[in-house]
Symmetry: C2
Subunit: 391 residues, 2 copies
């Protein structure tokens, strides 16, 4: 066996992660904090299978080439889920239609995508998120946005911000500009990539005298005070409806006391292909990419035969843990232990003592053989534990 | 689109499961009870990726044909893990060799196998388990067995038993019988399947005058008092060493006070291909198949370049939840909620009230629009919640 082969044999595939002791415990603690928060807001946990029919997943997610695809023994095309919103839409539309609306669901789940691991992206990563299904009211959207703020707060992040945009702003803008369809797609991609050089080139070609106003809108950032400015810049019914919706959402956000965390960013668009209304992303100053993303989606449930508006978000647990690590580098992941060592003949007393300590809730490691006190001391020291020795 | 096609489109693949609200919460609660128990016994959580190189997984698990296999974009052969023992052996041998021994690790994870779903077997199922790596002492094996009992107790099961056998009994027996290699394999399969008709036929052919003794051993069940009987029935060094090991394990089990839960069953063998010493299975009278399985494995770590004895077990969360359900059919999965409804104009007070109730830890559903009191009453009733209405 060659050296290279040996090494491959012991490795994990690129983009995969082993969580060592301490790391895994931090993840569990974070998951429970979020599960408790979502529950107390009236959301109920669901779990969907990691494997679904490929055609179910492609009904929602537009990046089939990223998915891990395979066949079962019967030759059916399957894939690992690349996100949770589509599976939960399927679940809600097939199993939960009889429940009182809106449904409020949450999940904690691993998802899979063959992204380029060189960009620091995991190919298996873990998300915590909620979906509110059956209402698109300003109150519903604001509730989910406020819960996103509370979730990042509950994670223990000291500094974070949310940027919010609205798909209606982009659509209102291209209507107002009267862009031909091919230019709309081109502009959408440039805006999504935040490539303002490309945006300007496209507007030069198509926007004429409206170019400056369009550029201003796509760069508009701030609190709800920018909304009147948006109405001045680009008229049109669609835009007015969007501004009215944003006004309503922001009036509810003020009630939640979370307005200060949220910046309107009218050039924000998200890529997943199912968002139709408000979209938002969460950022930590410690990381250069979003730690949370979400928005309103109007048509996804309809693809599963149950047309319902919905709104949700997902946060990336790996990303939040990394941001926390950078904020507080020395936070320990694990509780202290007690190490129980014993001399020959004291086995039964040592077991009884360990059982008692565990009942008191102390993390107790019991030696697996009688040993001298010096050995036990070394064992306890290496585990950074407190020694109890039965001599 | 035909009807059949429509239906497939909304389904999940056979052997997969959607966990509805309530079910998912029961699973999370059970997982946390087990994580707390394992932690207090000094075990530390690890997480490995769901996807590994196929050759890593086949190093431990002998049923490649069951695995979900596929290729990544670079053409490397990958598979979904069919169990956790092999990935944890890889993780320990590559990342944790420098830690003080024995390592005590635990996991809560989904695993995958294309078993026949008609037999009621899931193709994705969830396990909770521990691995103690770096010791094969009687104390170590007894600790893991005692922890298996504590785990089933912590799950809330009222009635359960553990059966324990030892691979050394079978090996000692075939040595003593002087069976040719092909007959050993045949007998192993018959014993594993508990097919005593086939066992008798094989013994008729090969065992001669020792047949009755062999049959008696393979059917021997009871407490530690059966061990002297085993020594009388089949002599030989290998058998004597096995009996001495079982005696030692049972003397530690008495210290843990769990002896009464454990029945020696000398015909018990397990199928995974890596067990070398004690093997055990847990049963609930409510189910016809094991809810827990484990044992000692002496060679698996060596396949990853780090020869170390080890012992562990996994319990099946779906199976334990099903057994619990059958023991206590009406146990509710979810906490009560408060439903906050409000009349037009009372939005902000309703938000403030909901935030206050949530801070008190009450699960609070806030209406997504102003509504009449009768509507709010109906909403609260359908959610089996308590109504607070701001009129």
């Amino acid at each position: 066996m060659s050296n290279g082969k040996e090494r491959a044999y012991f490795q994990i595939p690129p983009g995969m992660k082993d969580w060592l002791p301490g790391e895994a415990e931090k993840k569990r603690r974070l998951e429970n904090v979020l599960a408790d928060l979502f529950s107390v807001w009236g959301y109920r946990e669901v779990i969907t299978p990691a494997i679904e029919y490929l055609e179910v997943l492609t009904a929602g997610h537009n990046q089939e080439e990223m998915m891990y695809k395979f066949f079962d023994h019967q030759g059916r095309a399957l894939a690992l889920r690349p996100d949770m919103t589509t599976p939960i839409a399927r679940l809600a539309a097939t199993r939960l239609k009889q429940e009182p609306l809106p449904l409020r669901l949450f999940y904690l789940a691993g998802v899979f995508g063959q992204e380029d691991p060189q960009k620091g992206r995991q190919r298996e990563y873990h998300q915590a998120g909620v979906e509110l299904i059956g209402s698109g009211s300003g109150a519903a959207v604001a509730e989910v946005l406020a819960l996103a703020v509370e979730a990042l707060r509950a994670c223990g992040l000291k500094e974070f911000t949310l940027s919010a945009g609205h798909v209606g702003v982009f659509n209102g803008l291209v209507d107002w500009l009267g862009l031909p369809p091919e230019a709309r797609q081109e502009l959408r991609e440039a805006v999504q990539a935040r490539n303002f050089v490309a945006v300007e080139l496209i507007l030069n070609r198509y926007a004429g005298s409206q170019k400056e106003a369009a550029l201003t809108i796509l760069r508009l950032r701030g609190g709800r005070e920018i909304l009147p400015r948006l109405k001045e810049l680009a008229a049109g019914e669609a835009m007015e409806a969007t501004v009215a919706e944003l006004e309503e959402i922001f009036s509810f956000l003020a009630g939640y006391g979370v307005e200060d965390y949220i910046t309107l960013d009218l050039g924000l668009l998200r890529g997943l292909g199912y968002y139709t209304g408000l979209v938002f992303e969460g950022f930590s100053p410690a990381l250069g990419y979003p730690i949370l993303g979400g928005g309103s989606y109007g048509h996804l449930l309809g693809r599963f035969g149950w047309p319902q508006p919905a709104v949700g978000f997902a946060l990336g647990l790996e990303r939040v843990l990394l941001a926390l690590e950078r904020e507080q580098p020395r936070r320990s992941g694990e509780g202290k232990i007690v190490y129980v060592g014993y001399a020959p003949g004291r086995e039964k007393e040592a077991i009884a003592l360990a059982l008692r300590l565990r009942e008191e809730g102390k993390r107790t490691v019991l030696a697996v053989a009688a040993e001298e006190k010096a050995v036990a001391e070394e064992q306890a020291r290496r585990r950074r534990g407190e020694l109890v020795y039965l001599g």
